[in-house]
């Protein structure tokens, strides 16, 4: 039925099957939209957040998707600025993932604020000293850049491409894409960093607070670094997942190997920096404030010392070691293990930098504050995932996302 829209030389599932898939994910999306409307119409009393947990599941989701979406800016940087030309075979998908992650982050923020209609205050009454202001500006601008990067891809649709204006527009946009990739890398660096800065500047919260360089706490640099390191792992993970679902090879092994190798080195160097940061924070920053490392790791189920080990060792050192070795990268199971552990590692990092900050008592006479999300929070967090799946489904079906697909999967005529 929609064969005229499908790129030439590739095979897609029958239209009814595609529609069924869309309907299933659409139902999840509708559930999320319902919860979102509840939050907008009835207010944030629909959540389980409270005055101890002003930041909770949503802010974690926001930080996590931005970190995972870091593959877009870093792959763009590697391809257009460093000149790793092989990555042209995965850059479209990285841009799509980045676009989904960044638009999701914007949506989550729009739900998260108590007065969504006043969201523009952050731009109009901007406090230039606030890391959140920097987040808002960089997030909005980089989303604009990602949209510009995504548009040529849409224009490459078989039918749209037939129109000379769009064909030429697409061609010309590709020609200047390096400029946008560089702009995107710059903006995203600051955006990732300012998200780290959001926690790092909280000098009233010793668990989050970090010293730093000039106005930037160390978390500023660590967040940018970790997004560049772990983001490509998410791109690889989703590529592999899509290959499993479609039953096709979509990207050649040498491309995945290159991205995995770079990611491995980045994670390795990041995790060394993270260990140094943790050691300095525990032995100097926290010590001078009358506390010790173990004051922040209670024996409750959620925030034991295990979470630090899970973040640094399981989600950092393990994937780095796997990705640094040729054997690790070429073994399907080891590569899967590494990218999954890496994605979990960066998500745990963002979790502790948001939720553990809120949980740890600062006043000596207060207790730990624990929190669990309401169904509305869960549904609105799953909402962007459903939206992302739908966008990937549509983009994969109608756009030439993977340039090597035709070569790797010749269609018998």
């Amino acid at each position: 039925m929609d064969s005229a829209l499908i790129p030439e030389g590739v095979k897609r599932c029958p239209f009814p099957q595609f529609l069924t898939g869309l309907a299933v994910v659409g139902a999840v999306l509708a559930w999320g939209v319902f919860a979102m409307l509840l939050c907008w119409l009835k207010g944030l009393n629909q959540t389980n957040m409270n005055d101890s947990y002003g930041f909770a599941l949503w802010i974690w989701a926001d930080l996590a998707v931005i970190a995972l979406g870091g593959g877009a800016f870093f792959s763009g940087f590697l391809k257009y600025i460093v000149g790793k030309d092989e990555l042209k075979n995965i850059i479209n998908f990285a841009v799509l993932i980045g676009f989904i992650c960044y638009s999701s982050a914007l949506l989550i923020l729009a739900i998260d604020i108590g007065q969504p209609l006043r969201g523009w205050h952050i731009f109009w009454h901007a406090n230039v000293h606030s890391m959140l202001t920097e987040v808002a500006f960089c997030l909005s601008c980089y989303f604009g850049v990602l949209t510009i990067e995504y548009i040529p891809l849409i224009l490459e649709n078989r039918q749209i491409d037939k129109i000379p204006f769009f064909h030429n527009l697409s061609h010309n946009m590709h020609e200047v894409m390096a400029v946008f990739a560089a702009t995107g890398a710059f903006l995203s660096c600051f955006h990732q960093g300012s998200l780290g800065g959001v926690a790092g500047v909280l000098f009233g919260r010793p668990f989050a607070y970090r010293e730093g360089l000039l106005v930037w706490p160390w978390t500023f640099f660590l967040f940018t670094w970790s997004a560049a390191a772990y983001g490509p792992c998410f791109t690889i993970f989703l590529t592999k997942l899509l290959e499993k679902i479609t039953g096709k090879k979509l990207v050649k092994d040498n491309v995945i190997d290159l991205l995995a190798k770079i990611s491995g080195w980045m994670i390795c160097t990041y995790i060394i920096a993270k260990i140094i940061d943790t050691w300095y924070w525990a032995s100097v920053t926290v010590h001078t404030r009358g506390q010790t490392l173990m004051d922040f790791y209670d024996d409750n189920l959620l925030y034991g010392l295990w979470i630090l080990v899970a973040e640094i060792v399981v989600g950092g050192i393990f994937p780095a070691l796997i990705l640094l070795t040729k054997k690790g990268r070429s073994s399907e199971s080891l590569l899967w293990t590494a990218v999954i552990l890496a994605c979990l590692g960066v998500c745990i990092n963002r979790w502790v930098m948001v939720l553990q900050v809120m949980a740890v008592p600062v006043l000596p006479f207060e207790d730990w504050a624990l929190y669990y999300p309401s169904w509305q929070e869960v549904a609105t967090t799953i909402l962007p995932v459903a939206y992302g799946v739908i966008l990937v489904m549509i983009s994969y079906r109608y756009l030439p996302i993977f340039p090597q697909e035709r070569e790797l999967n010749p269609v018998e005529s």
Partner: protein, 262 residues
């Protein structure tokens, strides 16, 4: 009368914990004075708005050696380093500000868009979010104070040291041709409501105000001084364990000596 002709002030509070009985009159007075909203069910204290909250501290010892102390906690109106309070610096929309004329940390509910970053930044939990729209029992809305705007759902609020009283007192003084306020002309509602006289309020820089001398008392301490928040609320206690409860200490450290920033 222009601002530059006024002397710089740092309004602050000294709360004598040896006198506080934990009666909660300060909390009631504050709520009435500032139109603080409440709900039918206030059992979830993490969603209750209490601009000043009385904590119950114990020395952790079993009976008969157990001791109790009640500690009222308003907003600390932190000065931080040179006016960089933890909450003011993070607010992305300048909906909270450090007033260099009075030293009061203001809150502008009509500008706040409810990101709650300031709540995360405040180590004292002195900031509260309006999770619900305020609903007053029928007839009670007539008794609301006309001097304080009620806040809507989705914004943050906190103790303002009854700033509207400062404004009213300043206007009255201006009409009298005076630039400076007398100590008794500007007092917070909690100060006036405390039956034990445990709360003293005034200008920490003014030698004629009681707080100027009280903050130098050997029993004085502030909450979480080591974080660098530089709060303008001082506490007095003759009990060492109470003073030690005000901050985090390593076992080998002595309970802090007072470093006065004001």
């Amino acid at each position: 009368m222009t601002q530059e002709h006024r002397k710089e002030k740092k309004y602050g509070m000294v709360i004598d914990l040896d006198k506080c009985t934990g009666c909660g009159a300060c909390m009631v007075a504050c709520m009435a004075e500032n139109n603080v909203p409440f709900k039918k069910d206030e059992t979830d204290k993490l969603k209750s708005i209490t601009w000043i909250r009385v904590y119950k501290l114990t020395n952790g010892k079993p009976y008969p050696n157990e001791e109790i102390c009640y500690l009222p906690r308003p907003c600390m109106h932190c000065e931080g380093h040179n006016g960089h309070s933890p909450c003011v610096t993070v607010c992305p929309a300048i909906a909270t500000d450090y007033d260099r004329e009075t030293g009061i940390v203001s809150q502008i509910p009509t500008r706040c868009f409810g990101c709650r970053y300031c709540m995360g930044a405040c180590p004292y939990h002195a900031r509260y979010f309006n999770w619900w729209d305020p609903v007053w029992p029928e007839g009670m809305e007539k008794s609301l104070s006309p001097n304080v705007s009620v806040r809507m759902r989705g914004v943050v609020e906190k103790c303002t040291f009854c700033f509207h009283r400062y404004q009213l007192a300043s206007e009255k003084a201006a009409l009298d041709g005076r630039r400076e306020l007398k100590e008794e002309e500007y007092q917070t509602s909690c100060t006036q409501a405390c039956p034990a006289g445990a709360i003293t309020f005034g200008d920490l820089l003014n030698k004629e105000h009681a707080v100027y001398h009280l903050k130098k008392d050997h029993r004085a301490f502030r909450l979480l001084e080591r974080l660098g928040t530089n709060p303008k609320v001082y506490y007095l206690s003759s009990r060492e364990w109470v003073r030690r409860s005000g901050d985090n200490y390593h076992p080998d450290e002595k309970t802090g000596e007072i470093i006065s920033h004001h």
